[in-house]
Symmetry: C2
Subunit: 401 residues, 2 copies
């Protein structure tokens, strides 16, 4: 027997640790590996041999790990570049040194590129000892092939409930008001769209469609004329016809070549006020909270994240299982149910699954019933979150120990 390694990359979610917990639990039930290492801070830490031993994690720690938000093993935005051979050589050296047969990597499309690159490198160099397995996670829900991504359901649930709650709040006064809820979503509108499940959204602008201020303001005006109120949801990544971000001027750079966004909500507020379409606008930018509000995980989401980790572990018993990602497939049953399956990680790497055009209603007036039916089962159920004196219990990050 040899060992395995599990590590996390990219932006955290509320349930990302459940996949790690699933790998650990699966190996306790069915010990394919002697040791389950946790690699700290993704590839960056693995290159520095920053490991913790998760093999004998207690049942209690495993349970609390599942409700602990944000990557308990730490994350990185370090991109493994194919031309940087030294990194590859070092990484395989480390895997050999610790006798690591399988590396599980949870992440988004950049991480699936890492899984692809490592398995390709191994193949090219005739290395058969090491396997690389991707586990999807992203609140953005923008990965190809998989029906949906662990992490999305919990973020969507927080957004739906916060939309409903802030809508109830802004309605208490009779005054004219536009409420603008800004969600994450650089290129994909899944999170913004999910707010529509609250049933109260008047207008939603997704990054998949061009932001036309004229059409937008006409629709806002219709709402204001009708009821003196308008509830708007915008994705951080919305763009004008010429491709510039509505939030332009606030972009920084995150090292992956993506713009770091923020401020679309405030930009929309200015557009509304400047045009005098409404007298008053309030903005709620959900920001970081939407991806880590683990006190309100979706039970479906956290359960799937855990089971996906178990499935990845089990599949890795196959010595040829490398360069693969474990995805979620929605079964064709009346009651919502899923099964897991495997796809080559390269089918997922560096692609983006957009919110479908045919699921958007014209003129930013919401999403179709089909879209709602797709998202609805993903936010269902509440796990019993362990609280201590009103504060959520959590596992101290392994990189802080």
């Amino acid at each position: 027997m040899a060992n395995c390694l599990v590590a996390q990359s990219g932006g955290p979610t509320s349930v990302i640790n459940a996949t790690v917990a699933g790998v650990v639990k699966a190996n306790q039930l069915n010990p394919i590996y002697d040791t389950v290492y946790g690699g700290l801070h993704g590839i960056e830490g693995i290159l520095q041999e920053m490991f913790v031993d998760l093999t004998n994690m207690s049942g209690e720690e495993n349970r609390i790990l599942q409700q602990t938000p944000a990557s308990a093993l730490g994350s990185c935005r370090y991109k493994l570049k194919r031309e940087n051979i030294a990194d590859f050589e070092k990484l395989f050296e480390v895997l050999d040194k610790y006798d690591i047969e399988t590396m599980f990597y949870t992440g988004g499309n950049d991480s699936m590129d890492t899984v692809t690159a490592l398995s390709e490198y191994a193949k090219e160099h005739g290395i058969t000892k090491h396997r690389f397995v991707g586990c999807p996670k992203t609140v953005d829900n923008d990965l190809m092939v998989t029906d949906h991504c662990p992490g999305f359901g919990s973020a969507a649930k927080f957004i739906v409930n916060t939309a409903l709650q802030t809508w109830l709040d802004y309605n208490v006064y009779t005054r004219q008001e536009v409420f603008i809820l800004e969600t994450m979503g650089r290129d994909a509108g899944w999170l913004a769209a999910s707010a529509c499940l609250s049933g109260i959204v008047d207008i939603v602008v997704l990054p998949e469609e061009v932001f036309d201020p004229e059409v937008f303001l006409e629709e806002v005006k219709k709402c204001i004329d009708e009821k003196n109120k308008c509830y708007v949801v915008v994705s951080e990544g919305i763009r004008y016809a010429d491709g510039t971000y509505v939030s332009a001027g606030k972009a920084q750079n995150d090292g992956f070549g993506h713009a770091v966004l923020g401020g679309a909500g405030n930009a929309i507020k200015e557009i509304i006020l400047d045009s005098k379409t409404a007298e008053r606008c309030k903005v709620q930018d959900l920001s970081t909270a939407q991806r880590c509000h683990a006190t309100e995980q979706s039970l479906v989401d956290v359960t799937e994240s855990f089971r996906l980790g178990m499935s990845a572990h089990m599949r890795s018993a196959d010595k040829n299982f490398t360069g693969m990602m474990v995805g979620v497939k929605r079964k064709d049953t009346k009651e919502y149910d899923v099964e897991f399956f495997a796809t080559e990680a390269k089918n997922v790497a560096n692609h983006v699954k957009s919110f479908p055009d045919e699921w958007m209603l014209p003129r930013y007036r919401g999403i179709t019933q089909e879209a709602i039916d797709y998202i609805a089962p993903l936010i269902v159920g509440e796990p019993d979150v362990i609280m201590k004196d009103g504060i959520q219990a959590y596992v101290k990050p392994y990189y802080m120990r």
Copy 2:
């Protein structure tokens, strides 16, 4: 027998409806009044005779009302001015017309001024038929005399948990970063201070102390030098030594003569980046969500809010009980417990209870153990929130029916 009226004013909270539910339930158990009217949109709607009949509310509706965020009866920011005699005359005319003996008014210090003004007017005019009873509510926790205010505990709980969760999130990357959490609190720092219960706050700036950028930046630099990270909490109302708001330039006016604040977090971010104290800052402005996130009510808070409504109803059986506010008194017991008491509303009206100087640590480095011990019991316990397919159940606002 005659009737009573319950109405809501000022900013909503997550538990403000529980007080209304308490009044209704108390009258079902002990029918002092024939009819319990709900007045829509506070004084503004009462003047227009906008009433609903709450007398026979079902047990199920009562229960869901307790978990419904934001004023289900609507609110107003209409200030009853003593010189505006016509308003007073009209209001008493309406009370007579509907045979309303007691008016329960939930709100903050402006509302307690309304209770005071109405009871004084009645006294001056020899009117003995009508009684006016205030029920405190405010997330700001800034009312005098009462130990604390219903609504504060639930907002504090959301803040504490979101602080912990976003702290776990911003730590996953090794990069240098300052996280800035902005809370409500125009003049009182209770909400910002409550974030310290998470145990992760490095620096907290309250409106009760002058914001000195030099001292602040020195403390941020110490954190950055020590651990490359710094978690900062600021109240929206923080001010420079000359009294100008740190968020200056963004102030509007809300009709009560208070500045409408927002943007202290972003202003602090600019100060940090401009001074090159840190390379990267992220801001989370909790905005409206903190006062309406009823999926995470504190059980202590919502229970007290309900019981306070029952207590107010019971006390109003006394024909002389007018111009009073029902407050919360913390018992001198080892285990946290409270009792309700009455105080003249004028003792509360138009005052602000500040966060005590002696509870602040020097140089923005947090709050004392005494402060933590004061806040801690108020966030304890989780009610069984009724969810439907992952979305919180709520009572449709009465002003929308």
